[in-house]
């Protein structure tokens, strides 16, 4: 039997391009106002999965994402690079989840997928930078975790060997399977889309996307079942509703502030030679430099 890999990926607002409508009054993120991208480290995770698929015959990759309907884009991006199956977990019941409620929902979806050997995710997402969902999913599923992975070296004889990048060094660890691996940005970048796969999967859609098409839309999934992106709501997975969304989130946002620097009056200079000369004389005189 081939190796079965689940990649956890998140669609994130591109926090490098934030406008002033980015936050809602309740302190949560107004995702609609921002460009949405594939979380960068999740692409590093996908690449590790794809390398395993290249290396081990019969390996398959499922991409699991949680988010609004448009997060189906993430699954299509996964298909275009070599993923085989996609699951979109989407429901208003998940809104307002902190990392723990998110991890719980994801772990319930993974229990439904059931048959897997390896879960690979990015170390952290750029909208929160918490690095918590990977380890928390592992805990919820009672699986070992290997964080800060840079390379999955091998998956053989029911063991996985991974090289990790730590602050001051490198560690090689071995774990029993199944296991959860989180991948660093220092791992190799993800390969680009494959043109043939783009052709094959560009009409891959969730049921909601198919239903919202115009009347002359022809549903191809009967002939080509691979074009179906599985869409799961809270009713499709087994959960305790108290552990989801805001009620399942122990952390609350008390306050959000835009940053106002204390106005310190900076001395304004231009690059003119005499001004730089004067500045250097000043810094040397007061022993800041020299």
């Amino acid at each position: 039997m081939g190796l079965k890999i689940v990649v956890l990926a998140k669609q994130v607002p591109d926090t490098r391009n934030v406008g002033k409508d980015a936050m809602k009054a309740d302190g949560t993120v107004n995702r609609a106002a921002l460009p949405a991208i594939f979380n960068p480290e999740d692409l590093n995770a996908l690449e590790q999965a794809l390398r395993l698929k290249d290396k081990y015959k019969g390996a398959t990759i499922s991409v699991l994402t949680m988010g609004p309907g448009r997060a189906a884009d993430i699954i299509r991006e996964g298909f275009y690079r070599g993923a085989d199956q996609g699951y979109l977990l989407t429901d208003r019941a998940f809104a307002g989840s902190d990392t723990l409620a998110t991890s719980y929902a994801i772990s319930c979806a993974i229990k439904k997928i059931k048959d897997f050997d390896l879960i690979i995710a990015g170390r952290q997402a750029i909208d929160g930078d918490t690095a918590q969902v990977g380890p928390q999913v592992a805990e919820k599923l009672n699986l070992p975790q290997i964080t800060y992975a840079e390379e999955v070296i091998s998956v053989e004889n029911e063991k996985i060997v991974v090289r990790r990048r730590l602050e001051r060094g490198v560690e090689t660890v071995e774990s029993a399977l199944p296991a959860v691996i989180t991948v660093n940005a220092t791992a190799p970048d993800c390969r680009p889309r494959n043109a043939k796969l783009v052709m094959k999967y560009k009409h891959a859609k969730t049921i909601t996307e198919r239903q919202s098409e115009s009347e002359d839309y022809i549903d191809l999934t009967a002939d080509r079942p691979y074009l179906n992106i599985e869409e799961w709501s809270v009713n499709d997975i087994e959960t305790d509703i108290n552990w989801l969304g805001l009620s399942g989130s122990p952390t609350k946002v008390k306050k959000i502030e835009n940053v106002v620097f204390q106005a310190k009056e900076a001395k304004r200079l231009t690059p003119a030679d005499e001004e730089i000369d004067e500045l250097m004389k000043e810094l040397i005189a007061n022993h800041t430099i020299g």
Binding site: T99, L269, T270, P271
Partner: protein, 339 residues
């Protein structure tokens, strides 16, 4: 019961700086809350480790000393701490936001179904009114951190779940001896009571630790470059200036993400926090994610072509102009005036 705990990290037999910084913070939180400060240390060959922690105000040091606890792997450490916390019921638990703390913290918080806030830049005690539920809370831990790529600052609370957990990066809090003569008690943990055989499924096969070549944290002058430097080649101008001034080169996250500098040079919330005598920010706009890591510098010089860059509000001197024009002049006039 209901005390403040710091989960300590051991580096070659010594308690890591980040843990001692958190002990200092933990001591002041415990004083404010009128409770005890307790430290947890797990590893091997830890005889006498408590002597390193008492001066920082530890009332109790819990020691788990066993070969199965070193080198660090997630599951045995999780079982030890979760087991201990179920008995001790801490109100607050702090960890370093190191690769160890950021691996272990979420695992513990998930097992205890308690909240965890990563990479806090400030921890403060305060109250909270939940008007909807008609509840009011006293003495909560405000976990304050830049969020959303550093575009905002969020205050996070865990009103109902304990412990309130937070990770903090090295250098963010100040390390200060509380009382050199302070002593407390040692609690030797019964490792067999907490450890399960299935915790041992991960083995470290090989470990290479290297001393960091970059020493930004202890440098008294830092020349930092941002995305506005434009390229990796232009960063060479910064190394040149650093060389002349006896400084280290740092970088903003955007510059590191763009590949202009190595990750270990990153300054800010997700990098290193620094407090140099002089900080020269070149082509850095001044997102809070960056300024959180350098705002306590004694003197700040900003070089930026945008006169309205936020960094100018922090700066003592704001030079408006092209970095590639200004840096060579800084070098030239430094040399001229020190001859």
């Amino acid at each position: 019961m209901n005390n403040v705990f710091v989960i300590c990290e051991i580096d070659e037999g010594k308690v890591a700086d980040v843990s001692l910084e958190l002990m200092t913070k933990g001591r002041s939180l415990a004083n404010e809350l009128k409770c005890k400060l307790e430290a947890v240390v797990l590893g091997q060959d830890l005889d006498g480790v408590e002597a390193q922690l008492f001066p920082y105000g530890a009332d109790v040091v819990h020691v788990g000393d066993d070969k199965r606890l070193a080198p660090f792997t997630t599951l045995p450490h999780t079982s030890m701490i979760v087991g201990l916390f179920k008995e001790e019921k801490p109100q607050i638990a702090l960890l370093g936001a190191s690769t160890m703390g950021r691996d272990l913290g979420p695992r513990i918080s998930s097992a205890l179904q308690s909240g965890l806030t990563a990479d806090c830049t400030s921890l403060v005690i305060g109250g909270h009114e939940d008007k909807k539920a008609g509840k009011s809370y006293e003495n909560l831990l405000y976990q304050i951190r830049p969020a959303f790529g550093g575009n905002i600052v969020a205050t996070i609370i865990n009103p109902d779940c304990r412990p309130q957990m937070a990770t903090v990066r090295e250098g963010v809090m100040k390390k200060e001896i509380f009382d050199a003569a302070y002593t407390g008690e040692v609690n030797k943990l019964d490792v067999d009571k907490f450890l399960k055989p299935e915790d041992l499924v991960v083995n470290v096969l090989d470990r290479h630790m290297e001393k960091s070549k970059v020493n930004i944290k202890n440098s008294s002058i830092i020349i930092a470059g941002g995305y506005g430097m434009g390229s990796k080649e232009n960063f060479n101008a910064l190394y040149e200036l650093a060389d002349v001034l006896g400084a280290e080169v740092g970088a903003s996250r955007a510059a590191v993400d763009a590949g202009y500098a190595e990750h270990e040079r990153q300054i800010g919330q997700t990098g290193v926090t620094v407090r140099p005598k002089l900080y020269i920010a070149c082509g850095i706009s001044g997102q809070i994610q960056h300024t959180a890591g350098m705002e306590e510098s004694s003197m700040i010089i900003a070089v930026n072509n945008d006169p309205n860059a936020p960094i100018n509000k922090l700066a003592d001197y704001a030079i408006t102009g092209d970095v590639m024009e200004v840096i060579p002049k800084l070098i030239k006039y430094y040399k001229q005036n020190t001859k």
